[in-house]
Amino acid sequence: MTSKDRILARIRRAVQQPAAQTGPGPDADIPRDYLRVHATRTPQERVDLLAAHLAEYRARVHRTDEDGLRDLLGRLLADAATVQLPPDLGFGLPSDPSLTFVTDHAAQTPRDLDRVDAVVTGCALAIAETGTIVLDGGPSQGRRRITLVPDHHICLVRVPGQVVDSVPEALPLLDPGRPLTWISGPSATSDIELERVEGVHGPRTLDVVLVAAPDPRPDPDPRPGTQ
């Protein structure tokens, strides 16, 4: 008898159900009368709530439009020399000659990324009620490691189109088959006498830029490229 068989047999004895036809059971016995959203909001209110909640977690929140983005990025990257990019950010970049841009590619090692000063990405969506941005590895975001190892992450959110109200609204829009990273403020710890310290292992600085811009184009290629 394998361990698997043994565990399954123990479970069946424990719940006194015969094997096999213990169907997944009607989902109906799970009361789902909780709220889908916790308030009715206009798109603008949704964006404002996202901004407020992100700021509360000490993310730095900025607002601009497509025309203003280049300048803003230039300012946010003032101290950077090397900037990491996903395969396809979908926005124009500052043309500052002092900046070197590196595009995500499979051969980039964690050590390479450790020498990068900042990373600029888009996101899959953002959740207002919890102050969360979600990355799903799409072309505007790249592999998970590029938003992890560099010390400064600048994340662009197209508003209002990419902002949803709540967690229950967000999940159906996400593909669980893809690697998902939910980010709510910069890395933090309260392990020492409960005093909150920002920035342990993830990026210590998180800039979220709310860009008034149309919804992202549908992803032509569901995975980051390997150029």
Binding site: I11, R13, P24, H38, R145, P179, T189, S190, G199
Partner: protein, 494 residues
Amino acid sequence: MTRTDLGMPAFPEAAREAVRDGVLRANLRHATHTIRDKRARAVAELADWDRLRAAGKAVKDHTLRHLDRHLLRLEAAVTAAGGTVHWAVDADEANRIVTELVRATGEREVVKVKSMATQEIGLNEALEAAGIAAYETDLAELIVQLGRDRPSHILVPAIHRNRAEIRDIFRAEMGRWGRPAPDALGDDPRELAEAARLHLREKFLRAKVAVSGANFMVAETGTMVVLESEGNGRMCLTLPETLISVVGIEKVVPTFRDLEIFLQTLPRSSTAERMNPYTTMWTGLGPSRGADGDGPSAFHLVLLDNGRTDTLADETGRQALRCIRCSACLNVCPVYERAGGHAYGSVYPGPIGAVLSPQLRGTGSAIDASLPYASTLCGACYDVCPVAIDIPEILVHLRERVAQGGPVTRHGIRVRIRPAHGHTAERAAVRAARLLLDRPGALRAGERLLARARRLTPRRLPGPGRAWTDTRELPSVPAESFRDWWTRERGTPQ
């Protein structure tokens, strides 16, 4: 079976030490009160909290009722996504599987994300015996590991250490494990966190193998979910080539949609945040099956029983398997606040530990037999639990079991345990009861709850509590509810 802390004194002895330690009690009190107040605010923000709680309970109950189905579904989904699933009946088997998997990579070290399951099975010790170094990467776990210490809280495992102690530990020990602490290291938490960042970064960048647990596993899709704050989880889950996750079988939920409940209730119950800084979800090796260099190229899931199916066989006790390890029950527990986490003699401290350890490990040892008595039955733990585990009900049930004996399932076999009369276990239990029932108010609250807990309408407390009530007139049950009593005795209800 589970690694019991052999030689661990029974709860009352261990607790007495903590009760005498003024610094420890002050630290604990500050921590638990701070988190519980924040939690109350975070929970109050959601008008539908009770409905989320009921839904979370229902999802977990449903899953446990059909656990075989959901595990098979999970296995199929993980396998289809390029992962490999292993089944471990007990701690030894799980440790053997992980050790073999690490050996097969040729590596001698692994980085670890905080995981209760791997602590429960003593994985670090097993790896060490096999010549493999396991590095804890959660800041608190690092403090515990460097200090050769034991965790004392689920969420903030080093809460019993203050900043000066942590600085001393870093200064003395970091160099032996890797990059030493800076010479002039002070005791500002910011400086200490920075020292940990530098110390661990070196390990993350070179690590080839990582070991994690998981908060949830989705049967439908094979998706694993890890919630964290520091980013050490993301490092371990995405940078190494091989990822091994050891997860208790009760962590499965049926559908991806079910996460909409727990991703709302867990962060608020645990760190009292609307959402924790980072949550990672991954499904096997991802859409490219590991070819795109995003995340590990090998993923192993070790499904752990280790007493869980025995717990499942107990109709009253099985609800403990709903636990999502938020630690809210610790922070409201008057006994935990007095006794500290170490007194519970297992990786699961506080009210949940008092009901989980004696079920996972059996009540054969003095510590496990005394744990069901490590409570005043005030019911605050039940009130805050995001999956509505009636901990007092289980405690009463386990007390009866210890005192009067009865049927239990051990290692999958139904046996009848004898009453603990005159047994060392009972003596330990009586002392625990005395230690904790030395305040009439607490006993009254317990009685109120006992009356509420259908099964028993006792004139005497069951089990060793009886020794106490035999010599005293039981106070008549007050007209006020225990919640009112709690409010009056201890301030705002949670």
